[in-house]
Symmetry: D2
Subunit: 306 residues, 4 copies
Amino acid sequence: MRTYAYLGPAGTFTEAALKTISKSSDQLIPFANVTAALEAVRTNKAEFALVPIENSVEGVVARTLDELAIGEPLVILQETTLPVSFSLMVLAGNKSKRINSVATHPHAEAQCRAYIAKNMPGAEVITTASTAAAAEGLANGNYDAAIAAPIAALHYGLEIIADDIGDNVAAVTRFVLVGKPGKIPAKTGHDRTSLAAFIGADHAGALLEILTEFSVRGVNLTFIQSRPTGRELGSYHFIIDAEGHINEERVGDVLMGLRRICEDVRFLGSYPRADKISPTTTKSTTDKSFQSASAWLTEVRQGKKI
Amino acid sequence: MRTYAYLGPAGTFTEAALKTISKSSDQLIPFANVTAALEAVRTNKAEFALVPIENSVEGVVARTLDELAIGEPLVILQETTLPVSFSLMVLAGNKSKRINSVATHPHAEAQCRAYIAKNMPGAEVITTASTAAAAEGLANGNYDAAIAAPIAALHYGLEIIADDIGDNVAAVTRFVLVGKPGKIPAKTGHDRTSLAAFIGADHAGALLEILTEFSVRGVNLTFIQSRPTGRELGSYHFIIDAEGHINEERVGDVLMGLRRICEDVRFLGSYPRADKISPTTTKSTTDKSFQSASAWLTEVRQGKKI
Amino acid sequence: MRTYAYLGPAGTFTEAALKTISKSSDQLIPFANVTAALEAVRTNKAEFALVPIENSVEGVVARTLDELAIGEPLVILQETTLPVSFSLMVLAGNKSKRINSVATHPHAEAQCRAYIAKNMPGAEVITTASTAAAAEGLANGNYDAAIAAPIAALHYGLEIIADDIGDNVAAVTRFVLVGKPGKIPAKTGHDRTSLAAFIGADHAGALLEILTEFSVRGVNLTFIQSRPTGRELGSYHFIIDAEGHINEERVGDVLMGLRRICEDVRFLGSYPRADKISPTTTKSTTDKSFQSASAWLTEVRQGKKI
Amino acid sequence: MRTYAYLGPAGTFTEAALKTISKSSDQLIPFANVTAALEAVRTNKAEFALVPIENSVEGVVARTLDELAIGEPLVILQETTLPVSFSLMVLAGNKSKRINSVATHPHAEAQCRAYIAKNMPGAEVITTASTAAAAEGLANGNYDAAIAAPIAALHYGLEIIADDIGDNVAAVTRFVLVGKPGKIPAKTGHDRTSLAAFIGADHAGALLEILTEFSVRGVNLTFIQSRPTGRELGSYHFIIDAEGHINEERVGDVLMGLRRICEDVRFLGSYPRADKISPTTTKSTTDKSFQSASAWLTEVRQGKKI
């Protein structure tokens, strides 16, 4: 049995995502926000934490990134994605009643505006702290309907009237499973490496230098974001996701390069990509190419005629 | 009299920021989310909209960026920043009553955790959709205290017990004032230019190419974020803030370079920086340097002996 | 009738190359060295000068490059190439006499060493100031044979015993036709542009900056050489040949970029390539791409909704 | 006693340079051209060879570079520079006789043209295969005067009338001492590393990639030249001199990078600079920085909390 912290409350997309990677015998503990969920791992209240990291309707990306980059060190062990799918739900048995008020999180309201305008033009829209909170309030009889994740209906015994009512049916949230630093997940051939690179104040051109460290070794990025580090004005860090695993030569070489030129670098994890896409490597960026170049240098330094 | 839409509800940091740039005679209209506030400008319900764009406790950055990058075109006309300052407030006259329950937005709770643990260790924490919603609920008598922006106390007639109770006293939110495309604010010498650069799927190395267009003309970035464009897998765009004004030669030259190499580029505005920091230019990146190089090329092409 | 100066003496590869681009009615004047031939154009003794620029057995490349880069300005109007083909020649009628002494230029001796070792192992090798001087000395009866350009046999009435006796049958010399600055040859679609880029002392990284100006506009190089500028220690310039014509947008844009970042730039000519190879352009480096980006910028600056 | 081959004949600048680095007990053997001098080392007729490599009046740079890059491998062990100083010399006792004819190498004639025009306006100028050959011919009574290196006067018993008669008094020739691959000279802190980097045909952008390998590790170049490799059209190599020693981490790292991306790389030697200029390193390019980054990567890969 394992213990997982997650961004609660129960009934949100994060719980749904966690169910896809945990066993029924595991213990799943909701926390009020990302910081609390991650702190649970740091203080040994949970072995792992699952938190959203990108494109979530709950808007917590920045918090997750900041905690991983600046908080007490944790590493990403796994990632999982979940389609963002909003359902309209009512109290069981109320399926055919007119909806005069509907509750949801502000972001969800933005994404379901077209549906609301068409199907409940006169309904009052009440905003809540999470989509699960909307479902909970519905269960408490506070309003007529809620827009939430399908799992919320299950959780609060509600009845779903309509599925996939959001504008963007392709929307996906990426979640990361986080643990204490220790064993790095094995290389799979379709891995992602996350890191935070810190630069000093007033270092114009630093980002180009950082990216050149990647490109010169043929390592592609899949995500980048600059963040003010917060301690002093003009001090920045970059959160970067790159293709490949730290135990691959080219990725290790990039990390060493960053370590040399950055004020600080924090390794945030190497783990299998949810989409199982393998990095594109050329003959000059394989492990073999790095190892053979290293062997060649050793011989040249020994004065051997090459 | 001008009409401003803003991210509501009334009593949040956005309203406080808007008050610093509007007149008392102006009309300020709160909207439930960023999309709605921006849509008000698009549909002529408001002349301008003020929305948070970076580092906000309300977590709406992604929504603002996506609306500007992908929604029907709007441009940034001005930016303003506001320190993120949380206050603890109670009903007027209840200053010395024991606090058994306190409400706030989940992000605010994360930032004020140390204060809560020390001063109200036994209090129940209730999360709300916004800090203003917490204040409103307090005014309605739903709980004993709320953590919100100081302006919320003013708005709901509450009494502040403690100011600046967040962990990070340096936290700042950046807001942008947005309008319909038209006249670009005049050059001030300390401007910022925002843009969105779109790249096609499977274009490894595109980010380095994009950054090189900036660096080769000596234009520094102040912000960058990659975002999945959403329509097809692997299709990305970058939101970029750069130093300088589109009417400066080097910035215009960068934009033309991006226009050539990117699938698409959207200009999001040139406007004065709130911090009034001027870009660092060298003798090779001034307007004069660009103009004199252009005059020289014309002469060389005419076969003049230079 | 036109007057051409060329690197003499008569009977060398340069005269042979000049015959391929001049008419029989033109006047061809040999000069003792490259500087003298170019000076003839500067002082109006000749309209044009043909001099070797690359890979010549006569070793004069550096002189040509230095004259063009640092001397009083001249521009390249045309290039032509000639295979380096050495012939062994004797006095007419001496075809079957044993060769005890053979004269040639030191570079030619190096390239024909295998042939000499095999066919005249005991012969004394006499070095001369040019291959034509070897032929002239042979005509004067100074030794038994000479190794020179085929044209030298014609010139001095000698008899060729063996052709193509050099080691590298693919060797080619590139010559440039030089004139006073004035009209630039028309664009042909397969042009080369030559230039000299000067950098100040102690400017580490300058070469990378220079090359980036080319690569960011998709302009490929075909030749590069660093040269000490000579006036002060550590001051360098680069002689660069690039694909394309100065009247093409991307090439003009590169030149403006270099003009901004270099201490000085000298345009050395745009002219058709002898090999008629066209540059590889992508959709982002065509004239049309540059013009459409420029039109777009104008509209964006006017505040039009794009 | 050591045996040195050198570019002859005796009495040229190369012999003068060799005297500055050899002992009087050493054996110095002149060869007719650079190829022959280097071949003497390859075939064990000499232990070392001294040949000019850059900016020489004898014009042999290309030959030296080609032999090192493409011929059977040799390495540079030392470099030395010599000011290019031309002297006017006559037969002993003829100091006050009128000069009607003067002999010299064509390059020397170009450099001394102003002096000749002013002091011997009517003299016939005879060109010879080397400046030493001019001195030798003078000793044989072939003409009235010779322009050559001061050492030639010593060698042929001639009398110097005027020193430093060239236009460019700052001109310097750089010579390299070459030997068979084996022991690399020890690091001195002011070293240069020479190499040849080969790229395949049609690899546009290859030079930028090559330079980026240097710049990303903070290694500056002091010389670069492209050369057609000769075997197939469009196949190039670059001769590059860089600051630093192969046994320094950043230089070794560059070499490995080049080995990975180039078709071939040949190490041509690490040796002390004649001008004793030390490379500029930053805190991110020292050996210590490389070693500490490597130690850090090892710990991160072991899952240690950094």
